[in-house]
Symmetry: C2
Subunit: 292 residues, 2 copies
Amino acid sequence: MDGDADGRPRLLDSPAAMRGAVLEARAAGRRVGFVPTMGALHAGHASLVDQAVADCDDVAVSIFVNPTQFAPGEDFGRYPRTLDADLRLLEKRRVRWVFTPRVEDLYPPGAATRVVVEGPALPFEGVIRPGHFSGVATVVCRLFTALPANAAYFGAKDWQQTLVVKRMVHDLGLPIDVVVRPTVREPDGLALSSRNTYLAAADRSRAVALHESLLLAERLWQGGAAVAAIERGMRDALEARGVAVDYAAVVAADSLEPLPSAPAPAVALVAGRLGTTRLIDNLLLPPRATAD
Amino acid sequence: MDGDADGRPRLLDSPAAMRGAVLEARAAGRRVGFVPTMGALHAGHASLVDQAVADCDDVAVSIFVNPTQFAPGEDFGRYPRTLDADLRLLEKRRVRWVFTPRVEDLYPPGAATRVVVEGPALPFEGVIRPGHFSGVATVVCRLFTALPANAAYFGAKDWQQTLVVKRMVHDLGLPIDVVVRPTVREPDGLALSSRNTYLAAADRSRAVALHESLLLAERLWQGGAAVAAIERGMRDALEARGVAVDYAAVVAADSLEPLPSAPAPAVALVAGRLGTTRLIDNLLLPPRATAD
């Protein structure tokens, strides 16, 4: 272990130094886990770190607000940056390395390469945030080179993102296991997100509508309702709480395509805006034959 | 060495087995060189293999006609496939592995990921063969995962391709050295290419026009001629031999952008068609101040 004697993680910003540290650990037979984040860490990130610590000998957490996954006009500039608090959260856990590259460390001058995923990246967020998943795929590919871990940990809250990352890893044959962990929620059901801090007080109480619409979908699904009726019910529930709905859908969990008629795992996906804050959430539904 | 006792290379088509073999060699401290090819091997490929053998402990050659780098209507279907002759050429050299994946080994069902390079991939071949360099970058990225060598060897004949591969490797931080080796030519100057076999006899003799136009560019360049005059001279020389010119240009060798006024390495690039056969060639020019 090369963290400080007091157990503090070692901070690295050089991709070459980070890669060297991971390769050295792996050459010594240690299993390395990696939790990529944009910082502003909350209990959802903490659960990913805890799982990585449980599974692995050494854990690295990256903190990098990736400019290429924000479209022009999105919240790159005001995205919360809370490095001191993030480090305190990580110090309490057995994290060996915190990787904090600068933008120019991951995107060298003249950088001109993007990783573009179609398939699961096309619908939903892919429609509403053009270029977002290309930015995600590119930075994750770059991070995996700097941090050649055995496994990387992602939260199920960004369900579509987990499918995009898995698709890229499979297609490019990247030698890393992608581990997806359940969404962590506030007591009222709101999915934890670094963007929740944007919510005005009135909007915060209405934000529970996303989770409520997912629970409604689950009840309707278990009761055998048709997909179109479930989607209409979700949308109505969101709009009743004042959420400007981007989408409310029940689709195949692994492809985000329309559900086949045979029983298949499904996912309910919702996204909408409260004031200037955009929120997304989802819930996995057990396999069931489509009733429509 | 796990080749046959008679020194024949070991044939592998599984990316996982290929990766395992390379990692095992590297873990034993051996330097691994990789020559990616589309088969139809000629003396240009042989010179890459010979350089890799000279530089490395173990050498792998891949033979894969990559469908994604051919546009619809190009020559994917009729591209020469000469595996037996290719293996005979490789058997004479100290090649340890020949990697012959099938299309579905590199592009799994539902594959939806592309590596897209802009910058040096945009002009020239990027204009004339849309999607070509994305196909190249994607397959090279995928091959580098299956074959995590210390160094990969490319021919200077495809100069723009070497810039695209270097750009991708740099941008994604891929841990491999890109080595570029000089073009090998027929006695009359024609650059070796697997596509030369397409040439009808009359066109074969006229194909020397590409190299002649490059030698003309070199003389004019050394004589201080302006870039526009050199380009006009190249084009005239090609057209005089009946070549349908795609481009004839002198640009910065490392970016393919217009030459700066300060002395800089330059490259003369030509491409054109003789009958149904498309040929490209290039020549590096020594640094010189632009005279226009």
